[in-house]
């Protein structure tokens, strides 16, 4: 059974795993794409692949103890490894010419906005990809710099779009978490109401029997009036308890099957619930 309160950590975990998987596939494509570039070092891509694979493995290993903060750290480590590989390799693409600059960085900004588990990890992810592109741009020769059109404005635009998307998505996630919490509270209130009513249903008929027996005994044994008065007071307290439990009835939504409500079965079901 999936508890609704688990949804945020499940979503965060899935997002982090998806981001690392995209990182692995993307870096393999990057590795293949850089084969023709003269002097292109492969080691940054391999380092990035190793880090992404390790992060993916850690997420798989820890999947039974899902934690949003862990997922965020994993996401940022993966983004840092990719940004580092791009930082080292992009100047070689720039030197080789015929290069669409910072496509991976721009994609990284959008993916960070869409997949980062928390606000801070999204902003750090966008920042890493933007900073990587900026450092590459600052490090290339002035002549090459002039050949790279629409930059740095192109990357900055994607970074800004990433930030706006991040803020929008985080707001939506906060709303989803709130809805999940409210839903969990409603389910708990329904369960409490059903248990309360089941207890009341089971108790009311025996209390009725005691009530009538007490009246019979009062008539047959007038000398025991004091003792029977004690019993009546105890019965009155049990009746008050029933009235208190009745308040939970307002929280209960009856479904069509409720006409066959069985108090014992209801209590047995409640005992089995996690």
């Amino acid at each position: 059974m999936i508890r609704t309160t688990d949804y945020p950590s499940r979503i965060a975990w899935f997002s982090a795993m998806l981001a690392t998987a995209i990182g692995i596939v993307g870096m393999l494509l990057e590795l293949a794409g850089g084969r023709h570039v003269l002097g292109m070092p492969d080691w940054p891509a391999f380092v990035s692949l190793a880090v992404s694979a390790s992060v993916f493995g850690a997420l798989v290993a820890q999947r039974s103890r899902k934690n949003i903060r862990f997922a965020s750290v994993a996401f940022v480590v993966n983004a840092a490894a990719i940004s580092f590989a791009l930082l080292v390799r992009d100047p070689y693409y720039a030197q080789a010419g015929d290069w669409l600059p910072f496509q991976a960085n721009k994609l990284g900004c959008v993916l960070a906005a869409l997949l980062a588990p928390q606000l801070w990890s999204a902003l750090v992810g966008v920042g890493l990809h933007t900073a990587s592109a900026g450092l590459v741009l600052a490090s290339v020769d002035v002549e090459l710099h002039q050949q790279i059109v629409f930059e740095p404005m192109g990357t900055v635009t994607f970074a800004l779009v990433g930030v706006v998307l991040t803020l929008y998505r985080q707001r939506r996630l906060a709303l989803e978490r709130h809805v999940a919490t409210v839903h969990a509270e409603t389910v708990a209130a329904q369960q409490l109401a059903r248990i309360s009513l089941a207890v009341r249903d089971l108790a009311n008929t025996p209390i009725q029997t005691l009530e009538l027996c007490s009246a019979i005994l009062q008539q047959r044994f007038p000398g025991a009036a004091n003792i029977l008065a004690l019993q009546d007071r105890a019965l009155a307290r049990l009746t008050e308890l029933g009235a208190l439990l009745q308040r939970y009835e307002a929280n209960l939504t009856w479904d069509h099957d409720a006409t066959s409500l069985d108090a014992v079965a209801e209590l047995e079901r409640a005992a089995l619930r996690p």
Partner: protein, 122 residues
Amino acid sequence: MRVLVLEDDDDLRECMPTFLSTIADVECVLAGSVEQLQEKADDALRTDLALLDINLGRGLPSGVDAFDWLLNRGYAGRVVFTTAHAARHPLVAQALRLGRATVLSKPIPRARLAEFLHAERT
């Protein structure tokens, strides 16, 4: 005065006639289910007051079914539903909609039961 008691709880069904007899001269017809009620049809239909428990066990005909059965056979007495269920339970809500019957929630105070009996006698 004759009273029909339809109640699936053995203890309550057993003590109800004794209690009623402490209030008035009462002759009771007892049934633990709609099936038993139908077996005692002649006696049951001659009673002046029917105390019908609404919930007679999961999957079994209810007190509301017993009410329908009595009405279809021209029952002329007063009908009082008794229930341990919540007031908003669908079966109780159905009984309340019947109009002709009164619904009392258990535990019913002995004074309230006595009121009904006295009202029937007068």
